[in-house]
């Protein structure tokens, strides 16, 4: 049996599946249920300063997009941080941590960018017995209008400053949660590292309008005729999150900085992908909000079974394994040639590969052969782009088959060169030519 125990910057949990700071972790009732269901840890719903709590809208706060059969693909929200008094949250956190000593309990915090504010709240949190803190520099709506959340996360100098205060005023490990609403995710990660953070977690939600009500002409969710941009999350954001995690994992300046991967994790497979790209564990919000806490059972058994099958014993065997294989476009091997291949036994003859290639790509798939409906790749036209694979409704019906070195590429009329050669040395690259001439 694979060992799923997780040690993230010294915080121990029985598995790498944490619930992200969000409604599922808003109060003891939910968190107790989550731990009973098997979650390894929770990041408590973000705490604010002492005093009157924030208020939420009293109308709808979520919007969504759906795929086939109304499967939820993307969720958007305009919720703020916890709207319950700080003391209530702190008492509940303390009680829950006492009840579940083996689980990770992290406090998410967002207070104004003033040293005194951070200095004031940190001891209160520490007193609960929480295992660590997460700095919410990500919330993209509402709080950011008040100079917090993403408004801090978008200014690396502020990040560094706040992280430094936290490292100064608490002994608890500090996880800095980053906003994706920024052009280059490496900048805030580097700033957090410079401030002394123990880890980063990402992504928080993405600025978004999920839909417009075409009767009222207002964005949804609509509150009394008006809408605002909200934070986008769920399966749809996973690709963006994976890339951002990988960017930080392979940046020489932040290489080795522990990462808690967040964004669209819905199955064990998603989690494994985050781990492979450098995450030490993952956090989940939307999947739990869609299906309830029980999904963690699938995640645990799926990850464990896959690890057993592949012979990975611990999470360390996986974390970061794909990082060396993430590179820049310019270093991709241009001598590698692959062609699409259609398994005729699996083909159901829907013709989507043909029309996609015919209308929008390289006219490389037949439609009729000798007057009969038949879909086959014309190797002399196929550029190996993979579009047909992606539009085919049957898994593994179309596959990309690499040409062996020395084989003839019927499209170019050239034999496949066994050597690796990339754009940096390509004759069509003006920069490469200039360098060669010098």
């Amino acid at each position: 049996m694979a060992d799923l125990r997780n040690n993230f910057v010294g915080i121990k949990s029985p598995n790498p599946f944490w619930l992200a700071s969000a409604p599922p972790t808003d109060k003891a009732y939910n968190v107790e249920r989550a731990f009973k269901a098997g979650w390894g840890g929770v990041v408590w719903k973000t705490l604010g300063s002492e005093g009157p709590p924030v208020v939420n809208v009293n109308g709808p706060r979520y919007g969504a997009i759906w795929g086939a059969d109304r499967r939820l693909l993307g969720l958007n929200n305009i919720e703020l941080i916890t709207d319950r008094p700080l003391q209530v949250n702190l008492q509940e956190m303390k009680q829950v941590k006492m009840n579940w000593p083996d689980r990770a309990l992290i406090a998410s915090i967002m207070v104004p960018c003033v040293e005194e504010e951070w200095k004031a709240i940190l001891p209160l949190v520490e007193e609960t017995g929480a295992d660590g803190i997460e700095l919410n520099f990500g919330c993209p709506h509402g709080m950011s209008e008040r100079g917090m959340g993403a408004a801090v996360g978008q200014v690396p100098e502020y990040i560094e400053m706040v992280v430094r205060w936290c490292k100064q005023y608490t002994r608890m490990p500090v996880i800095t949660k980053l906003t994706p609403n920024i052009t280059d995710i490496r900048k805030p990660a580097r700033a957090a590292k410079a401030g002394g953070t123990d880890a980063v977690s990402l992504i928080n939600t993405i600025n978004s309008i999920v839909s417009v009500d075409l009767d009222s002409f207002a964005p949804s969710p609509t509150v009394d005729g008006k809408g605002t941009h909200g934070g986008y999350c769920g399966p749809a954001v996973k690709p963006i999150a994976l890339n951002m995690v990988a960017e930080i994992a392979r940046d020489p300046e932040t290489y080795g900085l522990p990462i808690s991967g967040i964004g669209g994790v819905t199955t064990w497979r998603d989690a494994a992908e985050f781990l492979a790209l450098g995450a030490g564990n993952v956090q989940v919000c939307t999947a739990a909000m869609t299906y309830g806490f029980k999904i963690v059972q699938e995640m645990i058994s799926g990850l464990s079974d896959w690890m057993d099958e592949k012979g990975h014993r611990t999470l360390d065997d996986i974390t970061g394994r794909a990082v060396p294989n993430v590179t820049d476009w310019q270093y991709l091997n241009l001598n590698y040639v692959a062609k699409a291949h259609i398994d005729q036994d699996a083909c159901i003859k829907c013709g989507r590969c043909h029309i996609a290639c015919e209308d929008t790509s390289h006219q490389a798939i037949t439609h009729l052969v000798n007057g009969v409906r038949h879909f086959e790749v014309k190797e002399e036209e196929c550029v190996g782009c993979n579009l047909c694979v992606n539009v085919c409704p049957v898994e593994n019906c179309i596959t990309m088959v690499p040409l062996a070195a020395g084989a003839l590429d019927q499209r170019t009329g050239r034999t496949v060169d066994p050597t690796y050669a990339n754009w940096t040395t390509h004759p069509n690259n003006p920069v490469a030519q200039r360098q060669a001439a010098e």
Partner: protein, 450 residues
């Protein structure tokens, strides 16, 4: 008297049983079900389902329109090709047409529910009374359509759309043809056939004259003088006889007549049915008659067909339906004579058959089955007077690919011609195409006259 009363009698069941038995075979999809079902369509390129549909409805497009909550757009896509799309959605043997061609059969042996989705879209438009077509400016041309069945209605609608003035001559008291008098009750429930006729006619420019029978009340020659073009959609008026002893006994009936009576009865409890019914034939009519006899409360219903299962015209689905309703299907049996008592049928003697070098032949061995009602469903024939010298082919009116007959002013389509299967949808396609051909001819005539 109840369920087991001997002879042919009505009221075998309770009111609740009749209601249940004659409700929709495939109930309509609600919006949620339609969305789920439409999600399964792959939006195939050059979709095989579309090729398989005799009216070539753009199926992937209309299903996509349903999936984007645009059922009216979907209905328009359907009606553009098939103005009887509502009836076809109910009666088409989709298992041998569009749904058989669906690539999902290859993928997971379960096609997209094209028929039910088509019904969802067309029902939506018809229930809301949305009309998609307006008449073009009047051409001043007059076209006579004989027969108000699917072929005639499809032709009339298309002709009216092109601005021609249409008069339909219909022998019966109601329009709709077999939609009204023949289709199984559980396929087209309520008064859908008449609702559809009204929906089609509301385009305007179509006058229907009921009780007008070609060959009795007028001839083709009469019409020729008064109309610029004529379309014949008169179906198959005749029924094949058995030609065996006892055929004239009370209780021996045409299956088509039996079904027509049932279709016209407001209260199914008033329809008489035998306790033991034998249906002769192997097509859709035989299945429909047998199933409905069973649903009316007959204790035992047997279909006797003179060839094997694989030769039956009724689809596998229809045969299974009959079996599931408790109908027994027996093969390789042909009628020898009907036995009776006091002028009423009591049993039928059937002879076993086999394929010989000279084709199908009786073996001499017989079996006798109890039967107080014998329904003949051994084929309909084309029978009509007053056609003059119109050229025939295979016992029906000869036409070319666009529906032109040997007479330059006369077109024909539907069951009365020998082209394609005898189906509602085929008749619609032929009526529509003939109307287009007529329109081209009339436009050409107008041009050369100018």
């Amino acid at each position: 008297m109840g369920r087991l009363a001997p002879g042919i009698t009505s009221g075998r069941l309770s009111a609740a049983d009749y209601d249940a038995n004659f409700s929709d075979l495939h109930p309509p999809l609600d919006k949620h079900e339609a969305l789920v079902a439409s999600d399964r369509c792959y939006f195939c390129h050059d979709a095989p389902c579309m090729t398989a549909c005799p009216t070539s409805i753009d199926i992937p497009l209309f299903i996509r329109q349903i999936s984007t909550s645009n059922p009216l757009g979907a209905a328009r896509t359907i009606f553009d090709q098939n103005i009887l799309g509502g009836m076809c959605a109910r009666v088409c043997p989709t298992e041998t047409l569009c749904e058989q061609a669906c690539v999902r059969n290859t993928a997971e042996e379960r096609p997209v529910e094209i028929g039910r989705l088509q019904r969802y879209a067309t029902d939506t438009a018809m229930e809301r009374g949305v009309q998609f077509y307006k008449r073009a400016a009047s051409t001043g041309k007059k076209v006579a359509v004989v027969g108000a069945g699917p072929a005639g209605l499809a032709a009339a609608h298309r002709l009216a759309m092109h601005g021609h003035d249409v008069v339909i001559f219909e022998a019966r008291e109601k329009s709709g043809g077999l939609n009204e008098y023949g289709i199984a009750t559980y396929k087209s429930t309520g008064d859908f056939a008449q609702d559809e006729v009204n929906y089609i006619l509301s385009i305007g420019g179509i006058e229907v004259r009921h009780g007008q029978k070609l060959g009795r009340d007028f001839t083709l020659a009469h019409l020729e003088g008064q109309y610029d073009a004529i379309f014949l959609g008169i179906g198959l008026a005749g029924v094949n006889g058995l030609g065996v002893e006892g055929e004239d006994l009370a209780g021996v009936e045409d299956a088509v007549e039996f079904i027509a009576g049932l279709r016209q009865a407001r209260d199914k409890a008033s329809v008489a049915v035998g306790r033991s019914v034998v249906v002769l034939g192997g097509g859709m009519t035989a299945i429909d008659a047998a199933v409905q006899a069973k649903l009316l409360g007959a204790e035992e219903v047997t279909i006797a067909y003179r060839r094997g299962k694989e030769n039956m015209n009724a689809s596998e689905f229809e045969q299974d339906l009959a079996a599931s309703k408790g109908v027994t299907i027996r093969h390789w049996l042909q009628p020898k004579r009907v036995l009776g008592e006091g002028g009423k049928a009591t049993a039928i003697e059937l002879e076993y058959t086999a394929l010989t070098a000279n084709g199908l032949a009786g073996t001499g061995e017989t079996v006798t089955i109890r039967a107080d009602q014998v329904l003949k469903a051994i084929g309909q024939t084309f029978r009509v007077e007053g056609l003059g010298a119109l050229e025939m082919k295979g016992g029906r009116i000869a036409i070319d690919a666009e529906g032109r007959t040997s007479h330059p002013k006369v077109w024909a389509g539907g069951d009365c011609v020998k082209l394609g299967e005898d189906l509602t949808v085929t008749s619609v396609a032929q009526g529509r195409d003939a109307a287009e051909s007529i329109n081209r001819a009339l436009a050409g005539a107008a041009r050369s006259a100018a």
